[in-house]
Amino acid sequence: MSLNIGVLGLQGDVAENIVATRTAMGTLGLKGTVKQVKTPDEISALDGLIIPGGESTMMGQMSLVNGALKVIKEKIQSGMPVFGICAGLILLSKNAKDRVVGKMDQPLLNLLDVRVERNSFGRQKDSFEAEISADSIGVPKTKGVFIRAPSIEDMGTDVQVVSKFNEKVVAVKQGNILAVSFHPELTHDVSLHKHFVGMIKPKKK
């Protein structure tokens, strides 16, 4: 079986996620294609989707304009695994508000049962790197690169906490949805991408 994985390519760090996913597939010995996707047709054909880091307001508006938002939502509802990173986490959420500005009127996929606080750790000067762990998905130690990162304030009972930084929830899983507030694609450690690829096709042992 060959996997068809897409990285939503409207805006943000698309290329970095393509490289990380290809590396992850290589180490797992899996075959398939990883490419940038923008159109509803391209998204319809996918087995898995990554929504990368960038600006969630822009991605929401542009995917609404070209009809991609609707197709992404249908695909995830029908079981396609999705990996949301930073802006991707915000886009997947049911509810997002900004730490300073407050309630936002931005298009969201409204699937992940969490309330996200945008820019939760402050502005760019407060962006940081720290060691974090995601034991429940088999990643005991990795570098968390937090860039104007959001955090998860509140969540439904179906949502599993995957990682925390000091008391703030920074990674969650809900069924076929994996979402993180930091940027594994900016490090050399592809273990979270490996876990996501594994969600698409369980590892054969």
Partner: protein, 321 residues
């Protein structure tokens, strides 16, 4: 993938501290350059008021750049152009959720410090403002806040990166509504990248060292860039962009994104134009979508624009290269 290497051990902008029981580091190259990576394929819009910033955010801008006057008004006003009012910057930071950038004068260490303290997300050391130091640029490694700098050639771009810039943009000719200079600058950078890449591929180390001497930057940076075949940081287009077609053309030349200065808020159809420029930048590969974006604007409402040949002030020539 663009590597996030290029750390300087003596960088004072890198800060390690404890938050509760956990050690964190701020101001690393990964964080500063990584921030620029999140802007890729996006449009950064020049704004002077909260109202304009909200229009930009609504239109899908990835960031706003706060100025006291739009570049074309800086040109008209003459005199000394300085950094924007801190109060206006703060009002805008409180009103929008997207990152907020602001410009400081070339070489003006304390305008930069003030902007960093005000907590803007990125500082543009910009030729749109009057240079404060004709001999040097700011040593940007000293700041936790990332910087973007303008460049007209590969040598200029690499010198700014060596000084710690986390992002580069073309200079173009700001405030003219004339995209010709931005096109010239990105094509020159691309030509020079092709040249050093071919030297690298041929294995001619001596010639690569010759290029480093010509560019007045370290051999390591030239080698890294030559190996990549592109700048080791995100590279945007800027200076004179006024229409969706301008933005799409520059994206097709390999720019990672677009800065629009006077082009939007000096036009009479700013709201529609802001949306149209974002649309054309996002879908630049699709000529039909760029046409749709171009249909959203009315050329009779574009800023009039200036012929670069007849300018009294060439902003691109300000400051040391």
């Amino acid at each position: 993938m663009i590597p996030l290497s290029g750390n300087l051990d003596s960088a004072k902008g890198k800060v390690s501290e404890k938050v509760g029981p956990v050690s964190i580091t701020r101001g690393t190259s990964t964080l500063k350059r990584g921030f620029a990576h999140m802007l890729k394929n996006g449009v950064v819009m020049d704004v002077t008021t909260v109202e304009q910033a909200l229009i930009a955010e609504e239109a899908g801008a990835v960031s706003v750049m706060v100025l006291d006057k739009l570049p074309s008004d800086v040109r008209k006003a003459g005199g000394v152009a300085r950094t924007a009012s801190i109060r206006v910057i703060e009002e805008i930071m409180d009103a929008v959720t997207i990152p907020v950038m602001a410009k400081c004068r070339i070489g003006h260490v304390y305008e930069a410090k003030v902007l960093a303290e005000a907590n803007v997300d990125m500082i543009d050391e910009s030729e749109v403002l009057t240079p404060a130091d004709e001999l040097r640029h700011i040593w940007k490694w000293d700041y936790t806040t990332p910087f973007v700098n303008g460049a007209r050639s590969l040598a200029e771009a690499l010198r700014r990166i060596e000084e710690g810039a986390a992002m580069i943009r073309t200079k173009g000719e700001p405030g003219t509504g004339n995209v010709a200079e931005a096109i010239t600058h990105i094509k020159k950078v691309n030509d020079e990248l092709r040249l050093i890449k071919s030297i690298y591929d041929s294995g001619d180390n001596q010639d690569l060292i010759r290029m480093a001497r010509e560019f007045k930057v370290s051999y390591e940076l030239v080698e890294q860039t030559a190996k990549l075949g592109r700048l080791p940081v995100v590279n945007f287009a800027a200076g004179g962009i006024a229409t969706p077609a301008d933005a799409a053309y520059l994206m097709s030349l390999g720019c990672d994104g677009i800065f629009v200065g006077s082009g939007i808020f000096k036009a009479e159809d700013a709201k529609e134009r802001a949306r149209a420029v974002v649309l054309a930048t996002t879908f630049w590969e699709d000529a039909d979508k760029v046409k749709e974006a171009q249909r959203m604007i009315d050329e009779r409402q574009s800023m009039l624009g200036l012929d670069v040949k007849n300018l009294e002030l060439k902003m691109q020539e300000r400051g040391t290269a």
